[in-house]
Amino acid sequence: MSEPIVVTGLGCVCALGLSADESWSAARDADTGIHVHDFDTGPNGPGVRTYPAGLVRGDATAALEAAFGRRIGGSLDPFAIFALKAAHEALGQAGLLGQRLGERAACVMGNGIAGIQTLEKAYERLFGLKASKVHPLTVPRVMVSAPVSAVAMEFGVTGPVFATSSACASAGHAIAQGGALIAGGLADIAIVGGSEAMATPGGMRSWEGLQAMSESGCRPFSVGRDGMVIGEGGAALVLERESHAAARGAKVLARYLGGGMSSDAFHWTQPSLEGPVSAMRQACEAAGLLDAGEILISAHGTGTPLNDKNEAAAIRALFGEAGAQAHPVIATKSAHGHVIGGSAAVQAVIALKALEAGLAPPILGYLGPDPECGELNLVLGEARPIKARAALVNAFAFGGLNCALAFGI
């Protein structure tokens, strides 16, 4: 990467809190955001079903309206509200609020599914209530690019603005693309990240149908793990050309060192070993981390039997059996649930806070070692002091799409 790219702002809204600080504090303190909730399909559906889920802690809309001093309300689907809230926080930290950011600013944010709460309501009207019309703003609220358009309009971003979609790796690809826009000279600032709001009655039934969801909780790399727990939320980072940040006296929080991307080209729900290893290798090579003493690895760590076994093997394949032991591995989905397309951004924010604090947050729900996952340096029980000055954030998606991101402080 020619000119260094720095991180000057962080924002997060998830089951752990309505800000990056709240989310980090809860992750550090093993204060889980996963609880059992009822999901009611309403009078036209089969009824209530109960699942553990990581629903956003607090009222993101009210927080955003308080920050903006005006109503946002029902004008956006929750997945766009989450993105906007996170972007507002990140830009505030970066000292970039109160101005139009202009054509040298970009916004790239990912999501896997689009605004399905809005879509569900629209379809319930048609197919359930047999109403002749759906809400006239259904299309702009549902569309995959609604979050980035909302951010662009709110903050005057007139440079490159688009959404990325690669299922559970969407925000990872968004961050990598934002970095590439800066490296390629198309922008000086990029608001990057992602969001998802899939914890709807229909969304939950869809995951249940795939038999990927746990009934008991998210237990990454643990014996007895039985699936993922759906979360929701969004996170944003402000990436900035180092010289641009320096010229305006912005505080540098971290450095974006590079990203790696690969496709398994193999199976809808089963991961390959080669794809994740390739993405991690690319990111580590770009960042000069292949031989680093200690890296904080924020694992994709969904808690599904297949992912965690494969990811553990991928980490050992890349760093070697002995090398892998040097790197503390965290899996924060055990605390905030799987934010699907927003996950990589939520993980990145927590990983950067962890590097800053010199503390790795614990993996929750762990019952004991699983021989299938082999030896890894898992952070268990409580937050552990770390020496790592760099982090690797993994995001591996259904359909075999992989992304890994490297950051340093």
Binding site: R70, R71, I72, G73, G74, S75, A131, K133, H135, P136, L137
Partner: protein, 81 residues
Amino acid sequence: MSGRDEELIEIIAEEALIDRAKLDPAAKLEDIGLDSVDLVSVIFAIEEKYGIEIAEDAFDRSDTLGVVLAKIDALIDAKAA
């Protein structure tokens, strides 16, 4: 103002995300800050609540809120009659 007009104004405030205090019957829609996108949401919500059909060109943004309320009242009364 009738109770129904109060109800309609509440719907407009809710759908168009406009402060209730700004919704003066003497003010024009364009001065209230009700743009065309807001207007389709308002029309949709009112159609839903009262079971009426409002033509796409029923209102002009230069209409006052009072004129709009009167037109909607007439449609609701016509349905009831």
